[in-house]
C-alpha cells in the first residue's frame, strides 16, 4: 500500500521532487494570497459591530489554524522518524518547527492587536490564549532540541519525543472554547453545519486561508531542501550539484 512512497526515503529523489513541486506551490500561493488578501482587506463588507477591525480575522484565523496544522504534520513526521527511523522525516520536522513557531507568534500578536480595541485588553489568561502560548513554547523547545545536539539523529529523536508529548495540546487548543468558558469566542468557520459568517465575508476567507496554506508549503519546501542538502553535504550527488551550479 505504501510502496509508492519508498523511493522518497532516498534524499536525492526527494530533493528532485521538491524541485518540481516548488514552482507550483509558489504560483498557487501567489494566486490565492493576492486574490484573498485584496478581496478581504479592500472589498469584503465591514462587520456590523467591529467595523474594519474585524479584517484582522483574515490573517489571525489562518495563522492560528496553520500553527496547529503544522504541529500535527510535525508530529506525524516525528512518529515516522521514531518508528520507521526515516532520516528525512527528522529533516522535515526540523524544517517545519520554525515556520510553525512564526505562525503561532503571528496568531498571538494579531489576536492581541484585535483584543485591545474589541475586548479592552491585550491579553487574558483564558484557556484558548494560554494553550496557544504553550504551543509557542513547545515549538521553541522543539527548535532548541533540534539544535542542541551535534549528532542529528539524536537531536531528531529528542525533539521527536517532545513533539509527540506536546501533541496533547492540539485538541486542548481546538476545543478549549467549548469545554470551558473563555473570553475568546467560539469557532466561526469550522463549525459543523452553517458557518457563523455571511458568504460575502466567508469567500475571501477561504481564498486567504488557501493562500496562507500554500505559502506555508513554499516556506517549508525551501527549508526542507536546505535541510536535505545540509545533512547530505558529503554525498557525491550534492557535490555534483554544487559543482554544476558553480560552473554556471
Amino acid at each position: 500500500m505504501w510502496k509508492f512512497l519508498h523511493p522518497y526515503a532516498n534524499p536525492e529523489t526527494t530533493y528532485h521532487f521538491t524541485n518540481k513541486l516548488l514552482p507550483w506551490l509558489i504560483a498557487l500561493a501567489a494566486l490565492f494570497l493576492s486574490i484573498g488578501l485584496v478581496w478581504a482587506l479592500l472589498f469584503a463588507p465591514a462587520d456590523y459591530q467591529q467595523g474594519d477591525s474585524f479584517r484582522i480575522f483574515y490573517v489571525h484565523v489562518p495563522a492560528a489554524s496553520l500553527s496547529m496544522g503544522i504541529y500535527v504534520s510535525m508530529a506525524i513526521a516525528a512518529l515516522s522518524s521514531l518508528v520507521w527511523q526515516l532520516k528525512l522525516a527528522d529533516a522535515s520536522a526540523a524544517a517545519m518547527a520554525p515556520v510553525g513557531a512564526a505562525f503561532t507568534a503571528i496568531a498571538l500578536i494579531t489576536g492581541a492587536a484585535w483584543g485591545k480595541p474589541m475586548w479592552g485588553t491585550w491579553w487574558i489568561w483564558d484557556a484558548r490564549l494560554t494553550s496557544e502560548l504553550i504551543l509557542l513554547f513547545l515549538y521553541l523547545g522543539v527548535i532548541a532540541l533540534h539544535n542542541a545536539f551535534e549528532d542529528k539523529n539524536l537531536a531528531g529523536k529528542a525533539a521527536g519525543i517532545l513533539t509527540l508529548v506536546g501533541v496533547i495540546n492540539i485538541p486542548i487548543i481546538k476545543y478549549s472554547v467549548d469545554w470551558w468558558n473563555t473570553l475568546h469566542q467560539g469557532s466561526t468557520v469550522s463549525k459543523i453545519g452553517k458557518p457563523s459568517m455571511s458568504l460575502d465575508m466567508l469567500w475571501p476567507f477561504i481564498f486567504s486561508f488557501l493562500g496562507f496554506s500554500f505559502l506555508v508549503g513554499v516556506i517549508i519546501c525551501l527549508r526542507f531542501r536546505n535541510e536535505i542538502l545540509a545533512r547530505n553535504s558529503i554525498r557525491p550527488w550534492v557535490r555534483e550539484l554544487v559543482e554544476k551550479s558553480v560552473v554556471k
Binding site: D47, Q49, V165, W180, T182, Q185
Partner: protein, 174 residues
C-alpha cells in the same frame, strides 16, 4: 511491519495513551478552575457540579449578557451600572433569570452594548436594594462568533450603536 518497528510503535503508542490519560484526568480535575468566569446563576446558586459559591468580598470574574434597559450611566462622570444575566442560546431575557448588577467607573470597551457578552473583574458585594453585585475594576467585552455586514445586521434587527461619551464625562480621564 517487522518486529522491531512493531515494538517501537507499541512503545510510542503506549506513551501517547498514557500522556493522554494523564492530561485528561488533570484537566478533568481542574475543569472548574480553568473556567475564566462565574455566570450570574453560578454566583447566586453555586456551580452546577459542585455547588461551590463565591463568597462576599471575594475577587472574581463574572461573565454574562448585559440585560437590555439595565444600563444606567451617570451624565457627569464615567460611572456606569448594568445588570448581567446568563449567556444562553438563543438569546432571550426573562424576569426570572438570575441577575447580578455590575458597578464600574471607566471607559467601556468598543463592543459594549445592551445584549452583548461582558466579562467583568471585581469584588463581589451584597447591596440590599439590588442584591448581589460586583464592584468592577475591569470590564471586557466578549465577542460572539457571528460576523455579518451592517446591512444584514440591520435586516436581522441587531442594534449596533456604540456608547458615546460627552466631553463632560471624559473630563479628568486624560
Amino acid at each position: 511491519m517487522n518486529p522491531r518497528r512493531k515494538k517501537r510503535l507499541a512503545i510510542v503508542a503506549s506513551i501517547l495513551i498514557g500522556i493522554g490519560a494523564v492530561a485528561g484526568l488533570v484537566l478533568f480535575a481542574l475543569s472548574q478552575n480553568i473556567d475564566l468566569f462565574f455566570t450570574p446563576s453560578e454566583i447566586t446558586q453555586g456551580k452546577k457540579e459542585t455547588g461551590v459559591k463565591p463568597s462576599i468580598g471575594q475577587r472574581i470574574r463574572i461573565g454574562g449578557l448585559v440585560v437590555p434597559g439595565s444600563v444606567k450611566r451617570d451624565p457627569e462622570s464615567l460611572k456606569v451600572s448594568f445588570q448581567l444575566s446568563d449567556m444562553t442560546m438563543p438569546i432571550e431575557f426573562k424576569e426570572s433569570d438570575p441577575k447580578v448588577t455590575v458597578y464600574y467607573e471607566g471607559i467601556l470597551p468598543d463592543l459594549f452594548r445592551e445584549g452583548q457578552g461582558i466579562v467583568a473583574n471585581g469584588i463581589l458585594a451584597d447591596h440590599p436594594p439590588t442584591g448581589l453585585s460586583i464592584e468592577a475594576s475591569e470590564v471586557l467585552a466578549k465577542h460572539d462568533e457571528n460576523y455579518m455586514p451592517a446591512e444584514l445586521a440591520e435586516a436581522a434587527g441587531q442594534k449596533h450603536e456604540k456608547a458615546g461619551y460627552s466631553d463632560k464625562q471624559l473630563q479628568g480621564t486624560k
